[in-house]
Symmetry: C2
Subunit: 341 residues, 2 copies
DNA sequence: CTGAAAGCGCTAACAA
DNA sequence: TTGTTAGCGCTTTCAG
């Protein structure tokens, strides 16, 4: 037995396919006699009819699918965000394609091309660079999109990010209150908004609190990874720079710091304190449990999804609003007062 | 300017749409004069033509999409598997929809229904229960699927799992060699193949090695979570049961054990050793770093994807083969010789 | 080897 | 309020 089609339902209800279509679609149901509609609905139910979204898409030029563009799903930051996205998009009738760019521009281009060829209705993008020609071009072509986590310059699209500045301020204040005066910032790549925003916020906080404002106390990591975090910290240590605490650009960089501590027999927090950023799952179980700035992962996903839905809904090109989500400092055992020198 | 269609390409190449279609499709290209084909190809390239998979799907009744069914993407076990799946399916021209069931039968049914309505060509399922009426029914309806991680009874579909028995044997032998004789197994739910297989393997290993074979030394967890792992361990401890080591059904259960150790000031590995299962990301950074049975996550995904592709290819209902992937014991600091009593 | 024609399942004018 | 008609973009017989 074949899967029943709209025509089968129509025949069973004794109406034309068009009428059945109208009756089945909540939007257009008002156009149809309610008795007829009921007849169609019950016919559909008894046949076990489910509409074929492919056929609908072909007609309407809307696929009911969304592309989610990530650097790497394997980064524990993203799964909760993806869940958040799905929590909103699923009930709204959309499904997601997830692609990984591995921070590679070419791969990103290919992946997004593939998404577009699948006729996704919109994009939720977590891979933005400050300068991002590809995204700019897509936006100019009218591709609907929302950015999350990172922003892009000169790209007027809705954006959902954690409150980077507030988070860093919390971290620095916490360390200052513990008595630290020389704090190293392991900054993320300056090509990302999160990298620059957090670094800027760090300098601001240091000045506001009257701590040692030494430019050497900002070390830049080439990527948001353990490896590059470790590398930057090693360089700082080797240069003879003195500091008693580290504010890492994110949790992975903080993990890189942990690796260096182990290599060099530095005890944390006794010799050096560390604060992370993001509140990745399971970092409460590390050795030592990581003090970090917790961001609302799921909520970032939900908010981004909601904004995309809005964007898809009204065609009015009203100025995109952007959202800063509140963060909180979660104090654990990786921070303590500095050792009395 | 509109996106170019096949007809545009055909017109530009001075041929009929049908010919263009044949030329563009590698499968049918042989049917067409190679000069003509070249003309079509170059026309396509210069117009920037990309085929519309929706239209193709409508005609061919194949969507080029696959459904991936997980308990919860947020469980760190799954992202690497999903990457593995994608690594194979992407280049083969497929895209994935990922759904989360949250171990809820109703939700699973709804999610799979949604996948089917999107006309997915096949399913890669990581949520199998030993008795799984829904999957059985789908299989009877001819839905193509591959199971991974967990198996289902009386369901003749290809399956990719880690070698549970070998892994548990490695874990038990390791502990035995350290000198442990009374080992507690925190078993996963017996409704899952992994739960029963690992528990059975545990009893076998204990007997083979001549360790204390006390039935009380297998405690069953209600789910594969930290909470239920902790709960089971607390009960065992409260009952006065004596043991010097724990083989956890998986890493999350092992994490639950860690929580109990902290609650009760039990030091690991000095008082109790622990071995996990799965080799989740980041467990090397726990306190203490977890000794665990490492499974080849990405490879599980890749293998499952490959098997699904095979299944989709030949319609011959040849008996499904199943694959056991090799595992390895990764020894870290959560295991040590038992304290001299 | 290529063209003509039909149709996948649905929706959106337009007419009645 | 309902039916008629046409067509989304592609593939696939069937002729030629």
């Amino acid at each position: 037995m074949q899967k029943p089609t709209l025509r089968d339902v129509a025949k069973a209800a004794g109406v034309h396919a068009a009428t059945a279509s109208r009756a089945l679609n909540p939007e257009t149901r008002v156009l149809v006699n309610s008795e007829t509609a009921l007849r169609v609905l019950s016919a559909a139910k008894s046949l076990g009819y489910t509409p074929n979204p492919i056929a609908r898409s072909l007609k309407t030029a809307k696929s009911g699918t969304i592309g989610v563009v990530l650097p790497d799903l394997t980064n524990p930051l993203f799964p909760p965000i993806v869940r958040g996205i799905d929590d909103i998009l699923g009930p709204a009738g959309y499904s997601c394609f997830i692609v990984n760019t591995d921070n590679d521009a070419e791969r990103e281009q290919a992946q997004i091309a593939s998404l577009r060829s699948r006729q996704v209705d919109g994009l939720i993008v977590g891979t933005a660079w400050l300068r991002h020609p590809l995204l700019t071009e897509l936006h100019e072509q009218g591709v609907k999109m929302v950015l999350f986590n990172r922003r892009a310059e000169r790209l007027d699209v809705p954006t959902v990010t954690p409150d980077d500045a507030a988070g860093i301020a919390l971290a620095v204040r916490h360390l200052a209150e513990l008595g630290h005066r020389r704090i190293l910032h392991l900054a993320g790549p300056p090509a990302t908004s999160t990298g620059t925003a957090r670094a800027a916020a760090f300098r601001d906080a240091v000045r506001d609190l009257g701590l040692d404002d030494d430019p050497a106390l900002v070390a830049v990591c080439a990527s948001w990874t353990e490896e590059d975090g470790a590398r930057a910290l090693r360089t700082a240590l080797d240069s003879g720079l003195r500091f008693t605490a580290v504010v890492a650009g994110n949790d992975l960089i903080a993990l890189g710091a942990y690796d260096v501590f182990r290599e060099r027999d530095i005890s944390c927090p006794e010799q050096i304190s560390v604060v992370g950023f993001n509140g990745m799952p399971f970092i409460d179980k590390l050795r030592p449990p990581l003090t970090t700035v917790t961001i609302p992962h799921q909520q970032i996903g939900r908010e981004a999804a909601r904004m995309l839905l809005e964007t898809l809904q009204d065609d009015t090109d009203r100025p995109p609003r952007s959202v800063l989500l509140p963060v909180a400092l979660t104090v654990r055992a990786s921070t303590a007062p500095p050792a009395k020198a």
